[in-house]
């Protein structure tokens, strides 16, 4: 099952231009025979929006997103946008379109508001983690900071996901001698750890380009449930990365390494419930 990753450089606050850019990348992905193309976090709007967030926000069923829905008739599309909820909250959202319609939306739960990040000032947090059927199996979405919280991939795996999509706008930093780019080293460690110990595919989709002096480093990758790198894109440059996902590999790996089968989410739940003073009946 072929999957395409659009490691692109969205224009900040320019949704029409970004829609056009998406159409071009979708066409290229379609030509590779991929069943699905995944775009980075906020791919339709750019990341450091600040007050622009309200200007580019749209409802999940907004006509501005219709071209994406239309393009999803023969290839599934995962792309990022600013969602304005029915009660007018702004969310960093990742939509999943298939067969001409929007099938799933994940709202970023963990909004980093420290260091170079200010998500919590401009956006409201999502309040759930839900899996859905994607072209490459049961999937969960962890937008950038979501993935840094290890409960997120854990919950998705416990819910039955075999693939985790991790769209990101990860700024590159940390240039000490003798190491990888600091951020790249951290991300690669996470991707591989989650993939191997939860026996899932991790699809990390990072963007490139600059916004207000901050550079996004790319380096998108697909890590298999055995912890191997199935495909990895270049750093700092645009690239359409294509990888082959093998559902059989998930099955084989889980047979060999049944960590997930033996996992006790019920126990985790009970321990945490007790800690929070919540009474749990069997």
């Amino acid at each position: 099952m072929k999957i395409a990753i659009a490691q692109c450089a969205p224009a900040l606050g320019a949704m029409r231009r970004n829609l056009e850019m998406h159409r071009e990348w979708i066409a290229k992905a379609r030509a590779t025979g991929a069943k699905l193309v995944v775009f980075p976090e906020l791919s339709l709007t750019g990341y450091y929006l600040k007050d622009l967030a309200a200007d580019v926000a749209c409802a999940a069923d907004d006509a501005r997103l219709a071209p994406i829905a239309e393009a999803s008739r023969d290839i599934d599309i995962s792309a990022g946008f600013v969602e304005r909820s029915p009660d007018a909250k702004l969310h960093i959202a990742q939509g999943y379109w298939s067969g001409g319609a929007l099938r799933h939306v994940h709202r970023k739960v963990y909004l980093p508001t420290y260091g170079i990040f200010d998500d919590g000032r401009y956006f409201g947090p999502g309040d759930r983690f839900a899996t859905f059927d994607s072209a490459v199996g049961v999937a969960g979405v962890a937008i950038c900071e979501d993935l840094w919280h290890l409960s997120v991939p854990y919950v998705y795996a416990a819910l039955g996901a075999s693939v985790i999509f991790a769209p990101a706008a990860s700024p590159g930093r940390g240039v000490a001698e003798g190491g990888d780019l600091g951020t790249a080293a951290s991300c690669r460690m996470m991707d591989r750890f989650y993939a191997q110990y939860l026996t899932v595919y991790v699809v990390f989709v990072n963007r490139v380009g600059h916004e207000d002096g901050i550079g996004f480093w790319g380096g998108s990758e697909v890590i298999g449930p055995d912890g191997t790198v199935c495909a990895r894109a270049k750093e700092w440059e645009e690239e359409l990365l294509v990888a082959d996902l093998d559902p059989e590999l998930v099955a084989r790996e889980r047979a060999r390494n049944p960590l997930l089968r033996d996992e006790r989410p019920d126990l985790v739940f009970r321990v945490l419930a007790e800690r929070m003073g919540v009474r749990v009946t069997e």
Partner: protein, 289 residues
């Protein structure tokens, strides 16, 4: 920050600069991409910078030539009558090595004309005027399709060792997140002439001026201290325990505090419901749709 298990935890000592070492190949790639992206998205196609003959502007010239092509970079050497001859030959050397055009635009007439008739002008005041005169020329030469590059490094920015709206002014600064010692390391990598890297840093605003003489400490001393204080957020008490000089810590912290105004936009009095600089917060890279 990366903690390399094989190298162990970062050591903290006044004479240990190993933690400041950078991956020059990676940094060069990042800075060239920064210059290219951030220039082209504004619609500008040229870069303009002052070439002093020092190491900072030499590195920026090299990065600019690599980012936009040497034919799209203009270097300006803007001497005052006291400027050292060595600065001129070094500036010419830098321009030749990186293949960029260098124009010499003297500032003696306007600076002396302005101060004519004043009895005794403080040399710092004179230096500030010269720095602003130079920047005004760079901005003029950037019209209509160029951007002015800054060359202030992280040490200078933190210490406030620069003239507001003078040498500190620019559209883009590719080296503002590199300490002086890191910039020297990068200079060797990008091919800045050895003589330029090794000479004592100087603003060359008056005869015999050197940065380290004026600051009262060396860049090595400042950089290692700033690195732990700023980048690693180590508390002064812990720095003292690690052997850093208590007076130097106090001096540097006070410089950082006192000069913070140079690192931010001017203050605007808030009276309305939405105010530029306070809560009208749009990104600079706000693109046309």
């Amino acid at each position: 920050m990366t903690l390399d298990v094989e190298r162990g935890a970062i050591r903290m000592a006044p004479d240990d600069l190993t933690a400041l070492r950078i991956d020059e190949v990676l940094v060069r790639k990042m800075l060239v991409a920064f210059l290219r992206d951030e220039t082209l998205k504004t619609g500008a196609t040229r870069l303009v910078l002052g070439i002093s003959g020092g190491v900072d502007s030499a590195v920026v010239a090299a990065l600019a030539a690599e980012a936009l092509g040497r034919e799209n970079v203009l270097g300006l050497f803007t001497p005052y009558r006291t400027t050292a001859d060595r600065s001129r030959t070094d500036a010419q050397d830098v321009a030749r090595v990186f293949g960029i055009r260098l124009e010499e635009v003297p500032i003696t007439a306007q600076v002396d004309g302005y101060f004519a008739g004043l009895p005794q002008v403080d040399r710092v005041r004179m230096g500030n005027k010269m720095a602003r005169e130079r920047k005004s020329i760079e901005y003029d030469r950037s019209w209509p399709d160029g951007l002015v590059l800054g060359t202030s490094n992280k040490t200078e920015l933190l210490l406030g060792y620069g003239t507001q709206f003078g040498d500190l002014a620019c559209a883009l600064n590719p080296v503002g997140d590199l300490y002086k010692t890191q910039l020297r390391e990068l200079a060797g990598h990008v091919g800045v002439p050895r003589g330029v890297i090794d000479k004592p840093p100087s603003a060359d605003l008056w005869e015999g001026q050197t940065d380290e003489g004026e600051l009262g400490f060396t860049y090595d001393q400042a950089d290692v201290l700033l690195y732990h204080l700023v980048d690693r957020r180590v508390r002064p008490a812990d720095l003292i325990a690690a052997g850093f000089d208590i007076a130097l810590i106090a001096k540097i912290r006070e410089r950082i505090r006192r000069n913070h105004f140079k690192r931010v936009m001017p203050l605007i009095a808030k009276v309305s419901l939405r105010t530029v600089g306070h809560d009208f917060l749009y990104p600079r890279d706000w693109e046309a749709d």
